[in-house]
Structures are given as C-alpha cells and as structure tokens.
Symmetry: C2
Subunit: 249 residues, 2 copies
C-alpha cells in the first residue's frame, strides 16, 4: 500500500488540537494542494478565507456551535466563487453572465469543485501529520458570515476546515460495506440493499455502544430516522443561496 | 515534500489511456479510498456505479460527448445518494423523511460529500500510477442515465471518473495565483482582485498560445466571457434535480 492510500485509510476527523499554530509553510502547502484539484473548464470556482483574527473566530465558533473553529492551529473557510471570473468583464457583460451563472447547474458545479479542492486540502494536511475536521455547520452562521467576511454575490461559504496538531486519536467509524455503496452497471435492488443496510446497522450499533467516547445506543439508519421522521422547519437555506445570485432556475 | 503532496502537485487530468483494464485490486482500492472521505453526520450520501458493460459505456460516451468514457481502463459514476438511508424506515417514515431531505441544504450536503469521496478516489488512482479525469459532462446524458442505471429518487449522477494507464502527459494548466484565491479574514477588494485576475489572464493567454496540443488564443476571463455573455437557454437541470425528489425548498 503506497503512502497516499495509507494516509487516506488512516483518516479520522480530529476535533481536539494542541495549542500550536500552523507554520506559514504548512498553510501555503495546504492552499496549494487545494488549488491543484481539477475544476470544470478550469473555472477554479472557489475561494479560501483564512480566519486569523481571534475575535472573528470566536464569533464564528459560537454561531456555528463548534468549538474546534476557535481552538485549532488554523481555520480555513472554503467558498464557492463565481464572482472572480466576472471581474474582467464590462458591466453589461457582467449582468448577462450573472443571469446565466444563476442556473442550478453552475451552483452544483461550483459546490462540487470547491469540495474537490477542500478534500485535497484535508488530505494534504493529514499527510503532514496534522489533524483536521471539515465543518459543514458554518452554515448556521449564515448570513452573518457573509457580512463578517465581506463576501460578494456568488461567493458562498460551504464548509470550514479546522487544522492543527492532533490532541486526540479517535476510533475510526466503520463505513458501509463496499457492496452497499458500489454497484456494477445497475443500482442495487431495494430488498437486497435493505438487507445490507440492516446488517451494517447492527454493526454500527455495536460500535457506538462500545466506543471509548460519546457512547450512544443507535444504529446508522436509526440516527437518520430519528433526525428526519418529524416536521422540520424550512431552514431558509434556499433563500440564502438565492440571495447570493444563484436563482437555481 | 511528502509523497502525498507530490502526487497532488503532479496532478493533470488524463483523457487518453492505454488499452489496459484496471485490476480488481485497483478498483477495490479506489472505492475504498472514496469511502474513507469524511461525510456530514456519517451520512455517507453517495453511491458509485462501475460501468463495465461495453454497450452501456458507449451509450454514455456518446450522450456525454466524451470518448474517454468508452476508452479507459475503468469507468466510475459518482452519485449523491440519500435513498439508502431511508430503506430501513417504514413507509410513513419514508414519506416524512423524503419531505425533509428534499430541502436544498441536504442536496448541497450530498453533492459536497460525494465530491469529497470522488477526489479521494481520484488521488488514490493517481497514487497508483494511474491517470484519471473527472467528467461533469455526464449530466448531458440525463435523464436517460437514470433509467440505464436504475437510479431511484435522491440518487443523482454527479460526475464520472475515467481511470486507466495514461497514454499522454499533458502540460499542467497554471492556476490562479494563491493571492487571488486565498484571503485573510476578508474577501479581497474588487479592484485589487481584478488586477490580479488580469495579470493571470495574460499568463494563461501565453500558456494557451504556446502549449503543445489544442493551442487557443484566449485568456482565462475571456473564455468565460465568451461562454456566458449570451442568451443561454435553461438547461432543464433544475427540473431534473426536482424530479429526483430534491425540491430545493
């Protein structure tokens, strides 16, 4: 097994860090790795904000309900960015471009590309012996986050990446069996797939009940049934996305 | 520089492959790497379809207008998947779960998670000396692709990953300068950012004009202005996404 696959296989999200900042070289290497990810039509539709002001980090941590944001060696925010590609255009062109970029396909492409860059950054950080966690919960700090970071239209914060020297070594969460995720030529029949999921449910129930920290009595499916089998209010996320120029038409 | 960062920095999309299939071990290692990517709440909201039937690959290649799909060592399709997590629920629960999962936030989360898995697969393939290209253009084969692969609601093909033994070594496309992508605490001022983009435009114009294959006379911004400064018809993508259960509310 080569070193890359070793690093990928050793992945666990690290949420507790030693009180030790990243070096400039480490930060540069992580951003550089992000930029090397491929993007559709070389669009490079993402930006990265490094949050270094302690007060700002604290605000984001509180609003996102996530202490790792404040207590890590460095905190990145990965955003979609279809703003930069319009800057060299004239005002009339920009208007027309914005109308086209508002289509849902560009939104999806920008989310996908930003995520490819994010995972490169994550893996690069881990390869240097650092720990990291991807934090989708920064969406709870929206739309305030936009104002704090000065983000224009078409720039949407997608996820944070908290990086630092690990101060924990959590167990690895068992994944779904490969046969429940990877199919040849056709998606699996529901009955067969359900049987595989139920077997995985039993295994993960055991894992959650026996792990060292944060023991729970719940299966994989059970967790999502409990989360989703109720009346969830609209989160306002669509309105937010639309307010940034993505009409999703 | 460690081996992981070396592999990431050597990335180029490979579109021409030798006539040599992947081994079972290689396929398994690539899928395994994909599964090791982190996902929000351990949702694992993606599935991977390996397309091995030559006729099917040909159809997808033709509809996506992309010959690499047919002529590679192995062809994967990465999909969002919020279907599997509902299978263990009863019919009433499934109905309520589907209503909640239709929100745009879950759509975004599923796209993001599937993309993290996809990039792990891409990097893992490259680490084994294979070449790969991510193909967003499979969306042109929608909605037929759904039927060919038997994809249920909440399972959306996002991108293909064609992998194989490289039969080309293209130049690397220069990236935006780090200072045009990575900002501290606040997004860059438009005038400063525009100057950086225009400098990059001059550099990439030179690159496109002087590279070995597929010479073009166009800048980075110029390419997108040409693409977007016109009346683009609605692609029907939003209707497709909605038809798969994602109401985007």
């Amino acid at each position: 097994m080569n070193e890359v696959i070793q690093v990928i296989r050793q992945h666990r999200s690290i949420r507790k860090f030693k009180d030790s900042p990243l070096t400039g070289e480490q930060i540069e290497a992580i951003v550089d790795a992000a930029q090397m990810a491929p993007t559709s039509a070389h669009m490079q539709p993402f930006s990265i904000i490094g949050v270094t002001e302690q007060e700002l980090r604290k605000k984001i941590a509180v609003h996102s309900n996530n202490p790792s944001i404040e207590k890590c060696g460095y905190f990145f925010i990965f955003c979609t960015d279809l703003h930069r590609m319009m800057l060299a255009a004239g005002p009339d062109q920009q208007e027309k471009m914005a109308r086209n970029l508002s289509y849902s396909y560009f939104y999806q492409t920008a989310v996908l590309s930003a995520a490819l860059a994010l995972q490169n950054a994550n893996v690069a950080a881990e390869s240097m012996g650092l720990g990291a966690v991807i934090i989708g919960g920064i969406n709870e700090a929206l739309p305030a986050l936009d104002e704090w970071l000065g983000l224009p239209d078409f720039v949407i914060p997608l996820a944070g990446l908290a990086v630092g020297v690990p101060d924990e070594l959590p167990e690895q969460k068992p994944r779904l069996p490969q046969s429940a995720v990877f199919f040849e030529n056709r998606y699996e029949d529901d009955l067969d797939l359900k049987a595989k999921v139920e077997e995985y449910d039993r295994g993960i129930e055991e894992y959650y009940a026996s792990r060292t920290n944060n023991k729970q009595k719940v299966s994989w499916s059970g967790k999502f049934i409990a989360m989703l089998d109720k009346d969830m209010p609209l989160s306002g996320y669509t309105e937010y996305v639309k307010s940034k120029g993505f009409d999703l038409k």
